[in-house]
């Protein structure tokens, strides 16, 4: 962490930032500011720097910062757009936007493809899928025989790998996902649709009453 450039972030984002983020995402201004309440609580849980680290991310998901996990790492890496090892609020909102119910299917497909492209090869390859499958089984203390795992992989690649070249490209992935919608189930968080309702304290306890009024006026 020593080599990381410390970056001071204002306690609240500027109104312009909220407006900009709301304009380019499915979130409203109020929702962006509600997300900031969430972001601040999880990003300051270990280091109070206003930035979300991998440890803080895992702590938020598992409630246990010592638990390492290939999947949480993978999601964090995709949120970490600038590859700084930490996620700032703007990237957090833009990445989370993919999970909004109103986000486009195209964005969800693209994000999920990169999610499963574990080694960033530009393809989803069998060793990557096997690695993730074994990690899942390990996570749930379940042991499957090797040939069962190979059978699952065989069936999966028969379905998904239309060119039968041993790897899945973006076109094959799109075709596969549209035929198996449940694969994209994790890409939508219905919760995000009504996010301000779950943070009433932000609305009622906010010291920026004036800004809220301005926002209402603008709307």
């Amino acid at each position: 962490m020593g080599c990381m450039n410390s970056k001071s972030v204002r306690k609240f984002p500027a109104r312009e930032d909220s407006l900009d983020l709301a304009a380019e995402t499915a979130f409203t201004v109020n929702e962006v500011e509600a997300l900031f309440v969430l972001f601040r609580s999880i990003s300051n849980s270990i280091v109070n720097d206003g930035l979300l680290s991998k440890e803080e991310f895992q702590l938020a998901i598992f409630k246990n910062k010592k638990k390492d996990n290939i999947f949480a790492n993978r999601i964090f890496d995709l949120f970490d757009v600038k590859k700084l090892g930490v996620v700032d609020f703007e990237d957090f909102v833009r990445s989370l936007n993919v999970f909004h119910p109103n986000a486009s299917l195209k964005d969800k497909i693209a994000f999920s493809f990169r999610l499963y492209d574990l080694h960033n090869t530009g393809f989803i390859e069998r060793p990557e899928v096997k690695e993730m499958l074994i990690a899942l089984l390990f996570e749930s203390d379940m042991k499957l025989a090797d040939d069962v795992i190979e059978t699952i992989l065989d069936k999966t690649f028969v379905e998904a790998d239309l060119k039968q070249d041993g790897k899945i490209d973006t076109e094959e992935w799109e075709t596969f996902v549209k035929r198996n919608p449940s694969v994209l189930k994790i890409m939508t968080l219905p919760y995000l649709r009504d996010i301000t309702i779950s943070f009433p304290s932000f609305i009622f306890n906010s010291t920026n009453v004036e800004r809220v009024d301005e926002t209402s006026t603008r709307l």
Binding site: S41, K63, I75, Y116, V129, S140, V148, S182, S198
Partner: protein, 467 residues
């Protein structure tokens, strides 16, 4: 229109042959298979077929360690016994990995109305270690098990809502059942992987919710009636009343011991089972053979479980060298082999099997007929005509032998009533051609009570008030 099934559980009477379950909530038939039965050449030959619905599968089957068919069948019986008594599955988890973990550790909770001895027996049956799990001979000696045939005065509310059961099968994509030693996989790798807990970003918000204490709000992945059962279990000792709204359920009374006239009649399981096998055109013949083989496997499953849960009849068979299983199971199996038929529809073979254990209709109908003749003749005939005229097929069986009494098609009027009238132990199920939901408003205590209606499947139950 194909017959579909709805599963109904009752309490107190264990003379129930657990059957395959089929759920059709959206008009789509899905295959559900009863366990993993295949024919083992030798008694203790290890079976390795890892297919079937996980919720019913023993841990050693899931772990593919090889298993003794009869030992995993005991586990299967335990799951079904639990379902019959509780009305919901003991192991339900949308997350596939968590489900496997639960089964592997036998993590289940008995509802409050289970007696201590029932809980003890279930612990022995649902033992994740196949070596220490109770065996059939020990099971037959179990104290609670032997008392299972006594009447009970317990009144419970039967949940007819199929959503919770449908949820348990929602992820089942098993469309084809194969023979032993093959390993069909019903889910692709990405569906497994996406069940990882860390892919569920909602955990980010659940933590935040805890710090906003303006409302009590919880989410649960349990089926509805399990939640209701738990809420009641916790709330009633605290003096709260639990009110159910928009919660569909019906009320069934087990007969008290004092009602000697009805002692011989008990609510039993009724199912119509359909199996769907999909195929490409050029494989039609092969799939047909496979489907027929599957039916035979179903029959063997029924026999095996019937033996395990019908000890009083099994003992009477010890001297006989005929096929194993109590007479009722044998007759049922024979009847199934004769009764199943194939239908082809949209690149699928549907194997339709009607399985009727018992529903008491005659005493109720008889009593009601007397009432109707004297007081409510007109109203009764209006109701009956409405139902009978839409009947597609009626099959009636004797209670204890399942000998087919008669099979009537496209009948109308009171002809069917006369036939039922003259058979003191007849039971009756009807499938009707049109939607019968419009009959629900007619429900009142003086009419024959619909046990449940699911699409075109209509079953009656007895009413105590007539007596």
């Amino acid at each position: 229109m194909y017959l579909t099934s709805l599963f109904h559980a009752s309490i107190g009477n264990l003379k129930v042959e657990p059957e395959n379950l089929l759920l059709d909530l959206n008009g789509v038939l899905k295959v559900t298979d009863f366990g993993l039965s295949t024919y083992a050449q030798q008694e203790d030959e290890l079976l390795r077929t890892a297919c079937g619905i996980p919720n019913y599968v023993a841990p050693e089957v899931l772990n593919d360690r090889g298993y003794v068919g009869s030992t995993s069948d005991i586990w299967l019986c335990g799951v079904i016994l639990f379902v019959l008594m509780a009305g919901y599955l003991p192991f339900v988890e949308p997350n596939h990995a968590k489900l496997y973990k639960k089964i592997g550790r036998a993590q289940f909770t008995c509802p409050s109305w289970f007696s201590p001895k029932a809980k003890k027996l279930l612990k022995l049956i649902l033992d994740p270690n196949p070596l220490t799990r109770i065996k059939v001979p020990e099971l037959l000696k179990d104290e609670w098990f032997k008392k299972g045939y006594k009447q009970t005065t317990f009144i419970m509310e039967e949940d007819i809502n199929v959503d919770d059961v449908a949820a348990a099968f929602n992820d089942s994509k098993e469309n084809l059942v194969t023979e032993r030693k093959e390993k069909p996989v019903s889910m692709n790798a990405f569906e497994h992987i996406s069940r990882s807990q860390s892919f569920n970003l909602e955990n980010l918000f659940e933590k935040q919710q805890g710090s906003v204490k303006r409302e009590t709000h919880f989410t649960s992945q349990r089926p509805t009636n399990e939640i209701m059962s738990k809420i009641e279990e916790v709330a009633k000792p605290l003096g709260f009343n639990v009110h159910k709204r928009n919660y569909k359920h019906q009320h069934c009374n087990a007969h008290s011991a004092g009602e000697s006239d009805l002692n011989d009649y008990n609510l039993r399981l009724v199912l119509t089972i359909a199996f769907q096998f999909t195929f490409e055109n050029h494989l039609r013949d092969n799939v047909t053979v496979m489907a027929r083989q599957h039916v035979h496997n179903v029959v063997r499953s029924i026999q095996r479980v019937a033996m395990a849960i019908a000890p009083s009849r099994l003992s009477s068979q010890l001297g006989s060298k005929s096929l194993p299983g109590p007479p009722e199971a044998l007759t049922l199996a024979r009847w199934i082999c004769k009764s199943y038929r194939f239908a082809f529809f949209r690149k699928s073979i549907f194997v339709m099997i009607n399985v009727v254990s018992s529903i008491i209709l005659y005493p109720c109908l008889q009593g009601y007929l007397k009432l109707s003749f004297r007081y409510k003749l007109h109203k009764f005939y209006n109701l009956i005509s409405c139902v009978w005229y839409d009947i597609v097929k009626i099959v009636s069986f004797r209670l204890h032998t399942w000998t087919e009494l008669f099979s009537v098609e496209s009948t109308s009027g009171d002809a069917i009533l006369k036939q039922v009238w003259h058979h003191p132990d007849a039971v009756l199920c009807c499938s009707v051609k049109t939607d019968v939901n419009h009959l629900l408003p007619l429900y009142n205590p003086n009419l024959p009570q619909f046990l449940f209606i699911f699409q075109n499947f209509l079953v009656f139950s007895p009413i105590n008030s007539i007596k």
